[in-house]
């Protein structure tokens, strides 16, 4: 995530890092995300069990023993949120990676090959853009069962279109620059040009758009979970917790408010970080 650690193109990345550091909201978002990721990864090891029930206790409001209260089965909400975070963040990352892989490959091929191939490929993207994809994801999840791998794939397959467009545009403009011509004149092979010269220069917009895709993916996962199509019990995600909470909010407000707040905070952080990176890397990418 930290652009400075990428080894090549020093001046661009260090400039960007300087600009990013001045953006307090983006840095705050980044810190919050790192803290959250560590808490979700390590937390369930130390905290109380997420599935241990205490039926005598039932749903109790926040207290010393249970910081964020317990749910109707007496399970610790804090532990459940940390555990649910694992699933939500995993879905966010893996599905984004699927989208990234499809989108970058597709866009790079279309942009690099150009000509008729490009216009056919982009026409396909245009048509897919117009389709009601959320509807297909819902159908897939209903008909083929609530399988988490299907979830990764289905969400990833929906979110790659914008990435493909961005990468194609970037490749098209870089392809014509002198340093690529120089590389060609030096007799470098196609593969070497693509991997050594094209891809590193497309990286900026891809990083920016990736940080903006993760919240979109997490939102879609939660949306599906809310409709009862996400991961299955006893697994849990933030979307599932929000759904359960909204059903019981009249008596037990904390079951809705805490997961909802944490989920919104995560989306905030990701969006601020994405915006900050975009300004820092000076990328003019579309925001949808």
């Amino acid at each position: 995530m930290n652009p400075v650690e990428t080894e090549r193109g020093h001046s661009l990345w260090s400039d960007a890092w300087h600009r990013l550091r001045r953006n307090r909201l983006a840095i705050a978002g980044g810190i919050l995300l790192i803290a959250l990721a560590i808490a979700c990864a390590a937390g369930p090891i130390f905290s109380q069990s997420y599935e241990e029930q205490n039926l005598d206790l039932g749903a109790a409001p926040p207290s010393q023993a249970h910081w964020l209260g317990t749910d109707t089965l007496g399970r610790d909400l804090f532990a459940r949120i940390l555990y649910g975070g694992r699933i939500s963040i995993t879905v966010g990352l893996v599905a984004t990676f699927v989208a990234l892989a499809i989108g970058v490959t597709y866009g790079a091929v279309a942009g690099f090959v150009g000509g008729k191939v490009d216009s056919v490929m982009m026409r396909v993207v245009d048509i897919l853009y117009a389709l009601p994809f959320a509807i297909f994801v819902i159908l897939l999840m209903v008909f083929f069962g609530r399988n988490i791998f299907l979830l990764f794939f289905a969400i990833g397959a929906v979110e790659w279109l914008t990435m493909a467009r961005i990468v194609r545009g970037q490749v098209m403009s870089i392809k014509k620059m002198e340093f690529i011509e120089a590389a060609r004149a030096l007799g470098l092979g196609r593969r070497r040009i693509i991997f050594r010269h094209l891809i590193p220069n497309v990286l900026g917009p891809v990083i920016v758009y990736t940080t903006l895709t993760i919240p979109a993916v997490m939102l879609l996962e939660a949306f599906l979970s809310f409709l009862g199509l996400g991961v299955q019990a006893p697994m849990s995600s933030w979307g599932v917790l929000i759904k359960d909470g909204s059903e019981k909010m009249e008596e037990f407000w904390w079951l809705l408010v805490f997961p909802g707040t944490l989920f919104s905070l995560t989306l905030f952080s990701l969006n601020f970080l994405g915006d900050g990176l975009r300004d820092a890397l000076d990328v003019r990418a579309s925001k949808d």
Partner: protein, 305 residues
Amino acid sequence: MIRFVAQRLLQTVPVVWVIVTATFFMIRFVPGGPFTAERAVAPEIMRNLEAHYGLNKPLYVQYLDYCGKVLRGDLGPSFKYPTRSVNEIIAEKLPVSVELGLISLAVALGVGLPLGVVAAVKRNTWIDYLCSSFAMVGICIPTFVMGPLMILVFAIHFGWFNASGWYGPMDRVLPSLTLGMVYAAYVARLTRGGMLEVLSQDYIRTARAKGASDARVILKHALRGGLTPVVSFLGPAIAGIVTGSFVIETIFQIPGIGREFVNSAFNRDYTLVLGTVVLYAAFIIGMNLVVDVVQVWLNPKLKFE
């Protein structure tokens, strides 16, 4: 322009056909059917049921039958509501969803446009920051968190509204605010960006130099150009409002087509699923076409290809 629209409409036909075909075969290849209930049905009844709905014919015959019917505007009988046709169900539920969608869209534009314009005009002042933070809040609090919170606060705590239902005009307030606010946030952001770009251009300076008032410069000259990003967002926004209505109609228990779609998928009511998918696809593609036309109309630099 007529040629452009006609061409695009022609391109739409194969797309809708692909959607119908893909959905048709997808739902046939999955386990479980509309008549698999907890209570086992006697085999002869099952056979009669299947014969009645034509499910015993070879798959390709069923497919051709269905395509033929769709071309004639008949979406077939519902499997779960035996006495009713899909057309009837859609005719009953669609107006509810359309009303919800239109009010939400009005909220999105009515709140988003002014906020975006004000933020751009008062750039980098506290007014701008206020509007931009509002936009970020709207984008980051999803409808399925916002909706229950709205019910909790305004319906249960203050008792101003009903928590659910769709009877009087007051019942329209919470659902359409919840659904519209997300898009209001995006519209505000895009309007601000578009206006900032336009406001720095020469023709705005010319208009000002000629002594046009601030209001005239902003509303008459700048807004038209500044709206371009908003208009291109409206295509996806309409699709989003449509799918967003699944969640909103579930939360507020509104008898619209969105809730019907989700239920029909769970019930494996094949014809109803197919019917709603066809409807959604045609609608979303049609709206995208309208958006494209409006865009060219707003921005003379673009031409109909």
